[in-house]
Point group: C2
Chain length 140, copies 2
DNA sequence: ATGCAATATTAGACATGATCCAAATGCGCG
DNA sequence: CGCGCATTTGGATCATGTCTAATATTGCAT
């Protein structure tokens, strides 16, 4: 499941993005890229320290910021209380289960916008975020 | 500009939504509904106390929560650090200037999405939030 | 009007996510 | 080995937002 090849893939990935390798960064990368889930900083900290060793909160935040800068991650802002970190950097959108807080990817091609609105002058689109909030169909 | 008719309009609006009137609630409603801007709790607190009297932080949060429950407002989650309160409760989407943090409404009709993705079984759409992140076209 | 119970407001304590800091550690290389 | 620089770290600090328990106001019956 967790062979040396996985580990090397993560190492390559970090290096290709200009991130110098450290033990902690590899641990964090493993947590994020092995399951490709959307996780909060707290969840990442817990998982990293559950599997292996002691990585500090400060290092988790430092590393997430670094990974963001290097384009290894993106943020998803859907919950007012915490940021989710998304290991999928391909353009895509999200289903957000408001009861569980769980995020699911929607491929960009699965949604087509017709008639993008006209932008104010001199403004350019940096990105489009679509969140479809869902909940279980109410049982009485 | 700020005649008694405005004030009465706000009062009517609150009462039609089942909100019992208080001086503080009317002040907060005036700040929100007079300019229809997207404001954070902090900004609302500052504006309320700039124009008139002393309304406490607790009351601002209490009132915003009440207005949300009563359908007078909605939240907009685009900034990891603070919630914006939106006095426009009609279905619509947003332009988000990432450099200034300023939000602008896009009428729901201005965007059409084709091919909504298929939802997991027993799940129903609660809402769709579209945020178009923009920035000034600026070569430094 | 007066009294009374329910509702609303408030100051300040508290919770939480996230950032900052200054010290300690680790690493690459001469 | 030892030096210089990047990285890590605990703990302090900050910012939004919530809670509490006391006070003030309101609506209403008498
Ligand atoms: Mn925050
Ligand atoms: Mn918060
Ligand atoms: Zn995603
Ligand atoms: Zn809006």
């Amino acid at each position: 499941m967790d062979g040396p090849s996985d580990h090397d893939d993560f190492a390559d990935r970090l290096q290709r993005h200009g991130v110098t390798l450290t033990h902690q960064r590899l641990e964090i990368a493993a947590v994020l890229f092995r399951t490709m889930e959307h996780l909060s900083a707290d969840q990442i900290l817990a998982r990293v320290n559950a599997r292996n060793a002691q990585v500090s909160k400060a290092t988790v935040y430092n590393t997430l910021k670094l990974f963001l800068e290097k384009g290894l991650l993106r943020e998803v802002i859907v919950d007012p209380d915490r940021v989710f970190y998304d290991p999928n950097v391909a353009p895509h959108h999200h289903l957000y289960d408001v009861t569980t807080g769980h995020l699911t990817d929607i491929p960009a091609e699965a949604i087509t916008l017709a008639r993008l609105p006209q932008l104010p002058d001199g403004m350019v689109v940096e990105g489009v975020d679509i969140v479809i909030r869902t909940r279980p169909l109410n049982p009485p």
